[in-house]
């Protein structure tokens, strides 16, 4: 929408449109060009009348009032309470766009978070302050996995304050309800802040929703010294909303019609995770995105992968086999695992067994593929062992269900038990002392 004949309007300012019937709609400045201002409406333009509508500019960009009392409350995508409770009495109002964190002021994330899920703890370890997305597809149980992480995640030997900020971006009522009832069931709701933008809510609001959530998270983490887990679902809906705005602005599109600045835009959200000096708290982020057609090279998962510190990929094959959570182990990765594991953090044998499990599973899968083409007889005895290992690995290591909570020791011991299917001489990735110490007896 173009507003003419205005003075003193600033870029990125928030405006309020007064409709003839007295309704207020909100908008944001996209471009200032002389006396004309291009604005983007957050809600629908229905009922807007060119002759009688007026626009008032507020003089500041979109802000979120924050307070520690936000815990346990439910907000809509624009930060207004929707649970029927009282209005939040704000400690202060914060610009939802945030400011970049000075890299010289960051702490490198290195505290191990135990999620109780073997494929994450053992192979793709999550640490405090990390951003680790879940790449999923339509019909895969990413919601269950995210809920399981939120339920089970803990840092061992610490009793620090913990909170969850949940942002629903354009998801259906049922999906949102699944999270809310799961949080309620486990009592987690009291330390959770929810921002809900449902599929039926205006698409433009989706651009603000994750930023609202992150602003609340930053407040809780860096000013109230809490450890905050942020779950955002679904980033794909966010990117589509961004594409819609970009198209409305008639910008030159990049790949698949997404704007050329999609990378920068996603980065300004993801990079808000982390730990910084002068504050005890941290923001750990788990964005969930559904890959269109399970295609990892689609711009949204692709650009996300370049910004986040790894990814957990869900596999349709595993899901069909009934292995839960259906994590596709080989392409999943946590970039920060090396600093979060080992003696004093998990256990001394962690790094070696992790690499060994990865490479053995990769070889086992290759052997199995070969078996499909040529039959079992064509495999060497060693390859047959590897194939057996791969089956056992999927059966017991990956497949643990959404309600089993394994400690890191249980996960590591299970790893050793599976490795002992193979001969000891194949343990090339593990230091010999470790093999001697941990190799299962009998």
């Amino acid at each position: 929408m173009l507003v003419k004949q205005v003075e003193g309007v600033k870029y990125d300012e928030l405006g309020e449109i007064e409709l003839p019937n007295g309704d207020i709609r909100r908008c944001r400045v996209l471009e200032v060009n002389g006396r004309n201002v291009l604005v983007q409406l957050f809600e629908s333009s229905a009922g807007l009348n060119l002759a009688q509508s007026k626009v008032r500019f507020t003089g500041h960009s979109v802000e979120l009032p924050v307070s520690p009392n936000m815990l346990g409350r439910v907000f809509n995508g624009m930060g207004e309470p929707t649970d029927g409770g009282a209005k939040i009495i704000p400690e202060k109002s914060l610009d939802i766009n945030g400011t970049p964190i000075n890299p010289a002021a960051r702490y490198y994330p290195s505290e191990f978070i135990q999620t109780g899920i073997s494929t994450i703890d053992g192979l793709n370890t999550l640490v405090r302050g990390q951003k680790l997305p879940i790449f999923s597809g339509s019909g895969l149980p990413h919601a269950n996995l995210a809920a399981q992480i939120a339920r089970q995640a803990k840092v061992r030997n610490s009793d620090s304050k913990f909170a969850v900020v949940f942002a629903a971006v354009g998801i259906t009522f049922e999906e949102a309800d699944f999270f809310i009832s799961d949080f309620k069931k486990t009592g987690a709701i009291d330390r959770t802040v929810l921002f809900i933008n449902l599929a039926s809510d205006p698409a433009i609001e989706r651009i603000s929703t994750p930023r609202m959530a992150l602003t609340a998270a930053e407040y809780l983490a860096f000013e109230c010294d809490m450890h905050v887990l942020v779950i955002i679902t679904d980033i794909t809906n966010y990117a589509e909303a961004l594409r819609e705005v970009s198209a409305a602005r008639k910008e030159v599109p990049g790949r698949r019609g997404y704007p050329g600045y999609l990378y920068t835009d996603l980065a300004t959200m993801y990079e808000r995770a982390g730990r910084k000096m002068g504050s005890e708290g941290s923001i750990t982020m788990i964005p969930i995105l559904s890959m269109p057609e399970d295609d990892k090279t689609h711009p949204i998962p692709d650009l996300t992968g370049y910004i986040t510190e790894g990814q957990i990929i869900l596999s349709r094959d595993m899901y069909r086999k009934g292995y839960m959570p259906p994590v596709d182990v080989l392409p999943s990765l946590s970039r920060l695992k090396d600093k979060g594991i080992g003696e004093g953090k998990t256990r001394e044998d962690h790094a070696g067994t992790m690499n060994q499990l990865f490479s053995s599973y990769a070889r086992g899968k290759e052997a199995k593929e070969l078996m499909v083409v040529l039959g079992e007889a064509a495999l060497s005895p060693m390859d047959r062992l590897y194939a057996k290992f791969a089956d056992a690995f999927e059966e017991s290591y990956i497949n643990q269900g959404f309600y089993e909570n394994r400690t890191i020791e249980e996960t590591l011991d299970l790893g050793w038990k599976l490795l002992s299917i193979l001969p000891k001489s194949e343990m090339k990735r593990i230091k010999p002392e470790m093999v001697e110490k941990y190799w299962p007896r009998g």
Binding site: T99, P100, A104, Y108, E251, Y270, D338, A362
Partner: protein, 589 residues
């Protein structure tokens, strides 16, 4: 002072009128907060300005003031060990001033104005000097002696110069130029980032830049003064390769540009490098490092500048006669910043929305690398090597940035996600990577490492190529269809892949390998190959050869500490002979 008023704001692009007097590429200050910007286009009295900071809160009628100078960096002692943003603002000092987030319009001098340096003069009253001559030196860190140079295009006679303790803006002497004017000499000079610093002559690169990474040194070496690129999809280990190069390359200095990448990665470098020891000097690696960080959440326009800021600092040290490596991670983000600005300027897009001048801008950047004879009468030689990571979308290297880069650089280290999934690191694919320096560097390797080096490494490539062909057959008809000889080739190739090419960046004795140890390791594998083939001919069975216990020892040979490898390798070699002899003796039973 030239002042204009803002007409239009669209993201990082601001258009101001009343700027007729301003020069192209002048730095301007925008609005009340004095945001830093640069003029990138002029139309009559309207200037298009790219603003290096977030423009929220800027509106029509705000004042734009030109500083009258192009975007420049401050060059002088104090650059090393520092971390800067894309337009050379020191991040540590900014943190001290405004806390852990970066606020807008903050002004901090690039070089510490209060720090006192000890200057030792080389020249004296009456000496005639011209560009590139050395006034004197400052010990900048324990390992780098900073030479104070006569700036380019200056010529004259010294009328005053003294040793002593100075701050960088203090006068250390006076220079009488040829036209009679007298100029002050200080420890600091300025240079516009978009202009390459001059040198006397360019030389062909003939010396390798040794990285201690086996797959790089042995198969795809890069020369000092050369250019290389590392394209790869996410998760294939680009950043680890870049970090390894920054850590272990045998150059005097490293300028590491984190361009549009993760904040935590820069933090990692910042926290880890001071603790790591340079294997050559024994001193902290940070002593030879300058970091430039424009993380992905920092303003996009400064990303475009960060590459130039980095390479200008590198050129300055090259001019002192040092060998410098510029490592840029990642040039794709820089290209995307170009694309974003180009889109906002409403230019006609080229391929995939990138501007048509993408290739020429990339070429300009990489051409600033090279081995040169520096200005100055002593004819010292400096080298600047440039290594850029590329992040092709979806790992598809047919996209414009990778293709434009490949046309310029001489070394291509192609990262492969399927290798990364198997946890084969560094995941450099040996089948499609190349180095055009191999032949040019062969004399150096033969002279300084071993006469066999070129032959050995050539044979490695050949075996791996062979393996690839054999694997095709195996996939069709199974391994049993191969002759024992061919199966032996597969065994050796596997050994090369796992025991030589794979290198663990996080393990102390494996992270860096000296050239002679690399050569010995290759020869150890070849020795196994040769002896095993002889045993095969004498009737041993391929299955038992592949299961020999000594192979596990070969697998662990790479992690043998440098001071022990000779005796250890001799022992392993003896075991190979012994075990194979035993096989032959018992063959046919």
């Amino acid at each position: 002072m030239i002042q204009g008023k803002i007409l239009k704001v669209s993201g990082p692009l601001v258009i101001a009128e009343g700027m007729r007097e301003a020069n192209m590429f002048d730095v301007v200050r925008v609005g009340e907060k004095h945001l830093i910007g640069e003029i990138i286009e002029m139309h009559g009295d309207r200037a298009s300005i790219q603003v290096y900071e977030e423009t929220a809160g800027i509106g029509r009628g705000d004042i734009v003031v030109s500083t009258g100078a192009p975007l420049s960096v401050e060059l002088g002692p104090g650059l090393l060990t520092n971390i800067y943003d894309g337009i050379q603002r020191p991040l540590e000092a900014m943190r001290a001033k405004c806390g852990s987030n970066i606020t807008k319009g903050i002004e901090v001098p690039s070089l510490d104005r209060d720090k006192v340096w000890h200057f030792e003069a080389n020249l004296a009253f009456g000496d005639r000097v011209s560009e590139g001559d050395v006034y004197g030196t400052v010990m900048e860190t324990e390992v780098i002696q900073h030479k104070i140079l006569v700036p380019p295009r200056k010529k004259g006679t010294i009328v005053e110069l003294r040793s002593g303790d100075f701050r960088i803006t203090d006068r250390i002497g006076k220079l009488k130029l040829e036209d009679g004017t007298i100029e002050e000499i200080t420890l600091m000079q300025k240079w516009p980032v978009r202009v390459a610093r001059p040198y006397a002559k360019k030389l062909p690169p003939v010396e390798p830049m040794i990285s201690g990474q086996r797959v790089i040194d042995a198969l795809f070496p890069i020369a000092k003064g050369g250019t290389a690129c590392v394209p790869g999809p996410f998760g294939s280990g680009k950043t680890v390769v870049q970090h390894q190069l920054a850590k272990w390359s045998d150059v005097d200095l490293v300028v590491y540009i984190g361009c549009g990448e993760r904040g935590n990665e820069m933090t990692d470098v910042l926290r880890e490098f001071p603790e790591l020891k340079d294997p050559r000097t024994g001193k902290s690696l940070m002593m030879r490092t300058v970091l430039i960080a424009n993380t992905s959440d920092m303003p996009v326009a400064a990303r475009e500048a960060s590459i130039y800021t980095g390479i200008t600092i590198a050129e300055y040290y090259r001019d002192m006669g040092y060998s410098v490596a510029v490592i840029a991670d990642s040039t794709s983000r820089w290209a995307e910043a170009l694309r974003e600005m180009s889109g906002r300027l409403e230019e006609m897009p080229g391929e995939e929305g990138y501007p048509a001048y993408l290739t020429s801008r990339l070429a300009q950047f990489y051409e600033r690398a090279g081995k040169v004879v520096c200005l100055g009468e002593d004819g010292r030689e400096g080298a600047l090597s440039a290594i850029g990571a590329v992040s092709p979308q979806g790992g598809d290297i047919s996209e414009p940035v990778t293709q434009a880069t490949l046309r310029i650089v001489k070394v291509f280290w192609g990262l492969d996600s399927s290798l990364a999934y198997r946890r084969h690191f560094p995941a450099i694919n040996w089948l499609n990577s190349y180095s055009l320096y191999r032949d040019r560097l062969s004399d150096w390797f033969s002279e300084n490492v071993s006469k066999n080096w070129m032959e050995n490494t050539g044979k490695l490539l050949k075996i791996l190529q062979n393996e690839n062909e054999l694997q095709e057959i195996v996939k069709l008809v199974g391994v049993d269809a191969l002759s024992a000889e061919d199966r032996m080739t597969l065994e050796v190739a596997q050994s090369i892949r796992e025991d030589f090419l794979q290198q663990n960046a996080f393990e102390e004795d494996d992270s860096f390998t000296h050239l002679d140890k690399q050569n010995a390791l290759i020869e150890l594998i070849f020795s196994f190959d040769e002896k095993a083939r002889r045993a095969l001919a004498s009737g041993a069975d391929i299955q038992s050869i592949s299961e020999l216990p000594v192979r596990e020892k070969i697998g662990r040979a790479k992690a043998v500490p440098y001071d022990k490898y000779k005796t250890e390798y001799a022992k392993i070699d003896a075991e190979i002979t012994e075990q194979l002899d035993f096989l032959v003796a018992n063959a046919g039973e």
